[in-house]
Amino acid sequence: MSILLNDDTRVIVQGITGKIGSVQTKWMLQYGTKIVGGVTPGKGGSLVEGLPVFNYVDDAVKETGANASVFFVPAAFVLDAFFETIDAGIEFIVIVPEHVPVHDVMKMRDYAHKKQVMALGPTTPGILVPGKGKMGIMPASLFAPGRVGIISRSGTLSYEFAGILSEIKIGQSTVVGMGADPVVLSNLPKILHMFENDPDTDAVIIVGEVGGEQEEKAAEFIAANMKKPVASYIAGRFSPQGKKMGHAGAIVRGSAGTYEGKTKALMQAGVTVLESPIHVQAWAEKYKLR
């Protein structure tokens, strides 16, 4: 088993006729993902990689029985397409595009929550279940099947961690890209909760970064709810301050957002804080992960 993506997941690709959408569709298919069709307004009736393309999401759902969707839609059109996809009954949505306006993301998050739809992103590499399938752009070669869950705020760093583990033959159960934007569609604790309940995951790695409050809230959740071992890496210790949220942000969050605040919170919750990605090997060996 795995989280979010499994044998029952039937995926459509939105923006399937675009340059990126069509290439990634091929790769997702090659990796064994059950892609059942695609959507591009105005391109209905054509075929991509042998898959039917529809003009509207509801048509695609009706014809293919899709229950999940991955977006390669231009940022300016993501909001509209996201609402359309939820209204069409899709239950799990991965938003790959970057540069989606944050005021749009707030609306999307609110609607997904109301309709109880699970979504990842924006600015996410998606999700990958080694040896089973993937939704998004994660490069398959770096991953290996196993029992470690990875949840990352950064796309490329999730590859880094999976790659380091795969090199020493420690595989992954599911690798989840949460999305790198200031507001994302699902917060860390929600995904940690799934990993905690997943019988095929023995331990979890959180790849975080400075800024925001995700890791602090994750620490609260872990302290209260998690029994599985958790390790965490926080990128940006030596970085100049990232997205500055002004005084208001600083006031609301207090010490949240800094490297020190995050690592302190995580350590107090019993999380192993990794100083460098490569230290994940020692941690994995200590817990005899595989």
Partner: protein, 381 residues
């Protein structure tokens, strides 16, 4: 994108927030003629897009025209945190009884706008938040419902604002939220909002940071073009070619394809060496883009270059072609270490090696940094 204070003030004024009479001067004579209209004592505020401007000497008072001439001359010759002062905003210095704080920003975790007010505004506002939390109140806004004066009044009451000012302040806060919405802001902030000796209110600063991703919509209602807004020349050039470039003080050039990977690379390098920049390509790698990236980071003297890229959405083999073409065109002989994994990795390695680049094929960035250090210690390694 952060707007200049004077641009923010124009917008505030359009939305009915009281702001001082003011003008923007590009020369000392401009400043004098503005002050003639707005009156003395005059405040001179350097229009540089950098925080802590006041503490760095960028805000001055002039009591007389003579003093103003001297002060303006001095400011135009000053650098504020490395940025030259090209424009000064001149206004009348009102008599201030009290400084308040008002801001709207985004609470990332809940995904909602949040309004924050304090009855102790001014430069030490973040300190106040820690020492006197009872003087601060915040409120999460539901954009679907909107934000109304009665809610603003509720926040101001919890912050302990004097009853006489609640009605006028709540109108200002509601207008600030309208600006925040209409300009798709990350932050809309007034610090300080002052209560004048005569009891009136005035926003004597204006912070407005617009979501870059929303600029395609917001630009239609912006007073000025975004050009010339970024202080650092190299950061501006980065924006032009479509990458994130942050200028740093070290001597190792860094190119990465992802902000998290870039930060981790910097962290790992930072234990031993000092990065000259942070260049993150985002998801749009082409041969041409990487050619330009090389050109950009080499505008500063470098000791070595570190490249850390993944092929997920990015065709890194294309990127590699651009890098190698640049090396050949410009005869680059610096040590360059590259880690490049993911789709098309083998092809990428071959191309990079053809340009004399040291390719590390292990997964951990740490290993690649080790290689870099070894090379710098022993160039023939």
């Amino acid at each position: 994108m952060r707007l200049h204070e004077y641009e923010g003030m124009d917008i505030f004024e359009n939305f009915g927030i009281p702001v001082p009479e003011r003008g923007v001067a590009g020369t000392v004579d401009d400043a004098l003629s503005i002050a003639e209209r707005t009156g003395y004592p005059a405040v001179l505020k350097s229009q540089v897009l950098v925080g802590g401007r006041g503490l760095a000497g960028g805000i001055r008072i002039a009591e007389t025209p003579d003093e103003l001439r001297q002060t303006a001359e001095a400011l135009f010759e000053t650098d504020i945190k490395g940025l030259p002062v090209r424009e000064i905003m001149v206004s009348w210095k009102a008599s201030i009884k009290k400084e308040l704080y008002m801001g709207i920003t985004i609470d990332g975790y809940s995904g909602k706008p949040v309004a924050v007010v304090s009855t102790e505004g001014g430069v030490h506002i973040e300190q106040t938040a820690k020492t006197s939390p009872d003087k601060i109140a915040s409120f999460k806004i539901d954009p679907k419902f909107g934000f109304y004066p009665y809610q603003a009044a509720g926040i101001l009451r919890s912050a302990g604002l004097d009853g006489n000012h609640i009605s006028s302040c709540s109108n200002i806060l509601v207008r600030l939220y309208r600006i925040f919405q209409q300009y798709e802001a990350m932050i809309a902030e007034i610090n300080p909002l002052v209560i004048l000796d005569n009891g009136g209110l005035m926003a004597v600063d204006a912070v407005l940071e617009i979501d870059d991703s929303a600029m395609f919509r917001v630009k239609k209602i912006l007073p000025l073009s975004p050009e010339g807004r970024i202080g650092n020349l190299l950061e501006k050039k980065g924006k032009e070619i479509g990458v994130t470039y942050v200028d740093l003080s070290g001597d190792i050039g860094l190119i990465s394809s992802g902000a998290g990977l870039g930060m981790a690379s910097m962290d790992i390098i930072g234990h031993h060496l000092s990065p000259a920049n942070f260049l993150e390509t985002g998801g749009g790698i082409t041969a041409d883009l990487l050619y330009k990236c090389m050109d950009l980071i080499l505008m500063k003297p470098l000791k070595a270059i570190f490249i850390n890229i993944y092929g997920g959405i990015n065709p890194i083999h294309e990127g590699a072609k651009g890098i190698v073409r640049y090396i050949k065109d410009h005869g680059v002989t610096l040590p360059i270490v590259a880690k490049a994994l993911g789709n098309h990795q083998e092809e990428t390695w071959e191309i990079l090696k053809s340009g004399g680049i040291h390719v590390v094929t292990e997964a951990a960035t740490e290993k690649a940094v080790d290689k870099l250090i070894a090379l710098l210690n022993n160039p023939s390694a």
